[in-house]
C-alpha cells in the first residue's frame, strides 16, 4: 500500500514525511526523525512517557497515527529549551533532583509545561491529578511535584 505524505511542524520546523497507515506518531518521531527524547513505555496510553503536544494539546503520541498530524504543530521535549537556556521546568527538575533514572522525565516535563501554559498557578492537588497520566517508578513524585510548583512560581514572577 502506498505511504501517506504528511506535512507538519515539529518544534517550530517544517517537516514532511511518508508513513504507513498504521504507523504511530511516536514511531514517526523516534524512527523517522530521530527524536528519541519521546519514549515508549507501554504503547497503550497508560504511562505518559511518549507525551507530546499537538497544537498545544497534550497527547500520548503512541495513541495517535502519523497521518493524523497533517498540518499540525507538534512540540516534543527536544524543543523545550531555547538555545542554551533551559526552560524553567527543566532547570527546576535538575535543581530539585526530580528525576532518578530519567526515562519518564521528558514526558513529565512536556505534560507539566502543558499544565503551566494553561494554569500558571496550580495547587499541589491540581499538579498531582494533571500528572496522574505520567508514571514515574523512581521518585514517588514528591520532588517532581515540588519542582513543578517551584517552576510555576518562578514563571509567575512570584
Amino acid at each position: 500500500m502506498a505511504k501517506h505524505h504528511v506535512t507538519a511542524t515539529v518544534n517550530g520546523d517544517a517537516v514532511e514525511f511518508l508513513c504507513e497507515t498504521q504507523e504511530t506518531l511516536l514511531d514517526v518521531l523516534r524512527d523517522q526523525m530521530g527524536l528519541t527524547g519521546t519514549k515508549e513505555g507501554c504503547s497503550t496510553g497508560d504511562c505518559g512517557a511518549c507525551s507530546v503536544t499537538i497544537d498545544g494539546r497534550l497527547v500520548c503520541s503512541c495513541l495517535m497515527l502519523g497521518v493524523e498530524v497533517n498540518g499540525k504543530s507538534i512540540a516534543t521535549i527536544e524543543g523545550m529549551a531555547h538555545g542554551d537556556a533551559l526552560h524553567p521546568l527543566q532547570r527546576k527538575f535538575i535543581e530539585h533532583a526530580a528525576l532518578q533514572c530519567g526515562i519518564c522525565t521528558p514526558g513529565v516535563l512536556v505534560a507539566a509545561k502543558a499544565l503551566l501554559d494553561k494554569h500558571p498557578d496550580p495547587s499541589e492537588t491540581e499538579v498531582r491529578y494533571w500528572l496522574a497520566g505520567n508514571l514515574c517508578r523512581c521518585t514517588g513524585y514528591d520532588k517532581i511535584v515540588r519542582a513543578v510548583l517551584d517552576a510555576a512560581a518562578e514563571m509567575r514572577g512570584a
Partner: protein, 766 residues
Amino acid sequence: MQEKLKEPGSEFKWVGTRPDRPDGVDKVTGRAKFGADLAMAGQLVGKVLRSPHPHARIRSIDTSAAEKLAGVKAVVTARDFKDQPSEFIPAGEMMINYKDVVRSVMAREKALYEGHPIAAVAATSAAIAKEALKLIKVDYEVLPHVIDVVEAMQPGAPILHEDMFTAGVDPAPKTASNIAKRIEFILGDVTAGFKQADVIVERSFTTQPVHQGYIEPHAVVASVSEDGQADVWVTTQGHWIVRAHCARLLGWDVGKVRVTSSEIGGGFGGKTVVYLEPLALALSKKARRPVKMVMTREEVFRASGPTSGAHVRVKIGAKKDGRIVAAEAELKYQAGAFAGSPVQPGCMCAYAPYDLENVKVVGYDVVTNRPKVAAYRAPGGPISEYAVESVIDEIAGKIGMDPIELRLKNAAKQGTKAAYGPKFGPIGMIETLEAAKAHAHWRTPLGKNQGRGVASGFWFNIGGETSVSLSLNEDGTLALTAGTPDIGGLRASLCMMAAEELGVGMDKIRVQIGDTGQLGYNFLTGGSRATFSSGMATVEAAREVMKEACKRAAKLWELPEDAVEYKDGTVRPAGPNAGKHNPMTLQEIAGIAGKTGGPIGGYSRINAAGAAPSLATHICDVEVDPETGKVSVVRYTAIQDAGRAIHPSYVEGQYQGGVAQGIGWALNEEYIYGADGRLQNPGFLDYRVPVASDLPMIDTVIVEVPNPRHPYGVRGVGETPIVPPMAAVANAIANATGVRFTELPMSPPKVLKALDEARAKGAAKI
C-alpha cells in the same frame, strides 16, 4: 580501606551538598540515550515467539515456513544454544544455574509459563518479523499447570521439573517435587522461649507477586561481525554480567563480547538477568547484521521476572514488659518456573532488626508455572519483614505498649548476633526508632477514619568487584570512568567524592560509565552497592592520582617523594622544604606530566569489603473510606540510616521511591491469573502502580550512623526503603479500622469485605 572517618560538617566542600547532577541536562532535554534509542545502520528487528500455555511439552518446532518468508534473515530456537550443566553460581544477592538460564531464555523440553520464549526471528521490519512468528509451527502437548505456591507444594501437584528433588531435607526425598529446597536458620531454642511468653501471636500472611515496574522495557541492539567480534548495547544494571551470561550461553570467549550499558530507565533488580540479549546475539551472528530487540510492556509483564508471591506464617512470643522471648517464621516463596526465589535472604532478614535469643526461621523455595522471579529491591526482605512487623504491631497492642517502645526494647545494635550468623557492627536501628519517636508526625492528632502505623526494616547491602579509572587530562581536568550503571544519580555522587578527595571543582571532572572493554570487571548495580563500591574505588583512584602528582612534583623539584604533599587541590613541598617552591595546581602538574614520566592516572580494582546494613523506621497515616474500602495514604515519613549521605537529595529520592513502590505493593499491585494459567493484567491500566494523585508528599529523615569501613561512611540506601511500607500501611489500617489484614494487596474490595464482616461482629472501628 579502614580508616579514621571524616567528621561531617564544614570540612567537606562537596560531600553532603546538593549540586546538579552531571547527567541532568541530557535527561531533561531528551538527549540521554536509553536502551531503545540506538539505531544501527542496517539493523534488523528481532521478535520473540512465546508460549501461549503455562505448561506444555514441546514435541516439535517447525521454522521452515518462517525462514522462507521474504525479509526474514534469521530464526533461532533452543537448538541454537548448547545445553548447560547444572551448577549454582553466586550472582550477587541471588544464585544462578546456567542449566536453568539456558532454558529460561529459550524453552527446550517444555514451556514452563505463559510467555516462555519458544523461538526468535530477525527480519527487515517489525511487520515481517511478526508475520514470521505466525508461520512457526509448534506442536505442544499441553500439561496441567500450577500457579499457587501452596498448591504447588502439595503431593500430586503438576511437577515442573522431573529431576527436582527437594534439597535440604534429610533423608533425601526419592520423588520429584516443586519444592527446590528447604532452608532453616536457628538461634537458641524457640520451644523453651515460647514457654516463657506472656503473650503469643501467630498469623499467616499471603503476598502477591509484584513487578519492578521500570518504565523502560528491556531493549538491546547486538551486532556480531563475520570474525565473531560482538558488540552489545543494552539497558542493564550490569553489563559485565550481560557479557558473562551471553558468552557462556553462546560458547564464545568473554573477550569477544563488548557490552555498553545505555542509560537505564529503571531496574530495581529486574535488569540483573538476561532475556533478549543472547537471542539478539544469536540472531545477529546468523544474519550477519545488527539486530535490535525491544520488549512490549505486555512482554515485560508476562515474561520478565516479578518478585515472589508468598505464604508466610509468623509466631512471636513476648513478656508483658515487651521483651520478645521467641520468634518463629515459615516462609514459602514461589520462584516461578525455575528454582531460585529470594527465600534465603527473606529468612535472613525476617528478624534481623532485633536482638533475640530464640529464633527459628524455615524457608521453602517453590517452583510454579509463572515467569522466573528476578531480584526486586531488597529481594525477599519486604515479604518476611511485612509479616514480622505486622505481628510485632499486634503484640504491642496486646500488651498495651507503644509500638516504637516495643521495638526499642528489642532493637539490634552493635554487637548483636543475628540469627543468620554475623555480629553487627555499628547499625542505626535504635537511631531510626528514636528519630521516629521524636518526629512531629508521631504526635500529630489523626482525623476521622484515619489510623497510624509504624514499621521498621532491614537490608544487608553488598560490596563486590569494582573497577574505576581516573585520568588526569593534559589541561588538569579529569576523566572518571566507572562500571556500575547509573540509575539514580551515581555519577553525581562519584564526581562529588572525587572532587572532595582531589580538592577540585566538580565541573573539572567528567564522569562516564565505561563499557566492558574500558575497565576491569565490575559486578552490577544492585544490592545497594554502587555508591558504596564505586565510591570506594573512586576514592582509591583519586588518591593514586594525588600520589602520582606528588611524585612528579618531587621529580621536578628534586626532592624526595615524602617531602611533597597534596593539599587543597595543590601539590606543595612539606616539612623543612615548605615555602621553597610555589605550590603547583593539578593543571600545572598535568602540564609537566609528559616530561616527568608520562600520563597520570589512577586505576582502582577492588573487591569492596565492609558493606553495612541500612535500617529504617517508617510512619504511615492512612484514611479508610468506610463505604468503598479505599485506603488513602495521607501522610508518610521515612526515616533511614544512610551511613553518610553523599548527595542528600538522591538519598531522599531513594527513600521516597521505595516508599511509593511499597505503597503500591501494599494497596494495589498484584498479578492476576485465570484458571487457564494466563496472566490477565499485563499492562499498566490493570496492573496499577501508584500515580501522582495516589500519594502525598513523602517526608524523609536521613539518620547518619557512619559505616566505619567506607572512606566517607557510606551505607547503601537503595533497597531498605521498600521493606517497611507494607507493614506500616497494614498497621495503620488496623489502627484505623480495628481489623488486621493479612493478605496483600489491601485493595478496596478486600478491605470492604473485611470491614463488612467485622461490622457484622461489632469488631470494626469504622
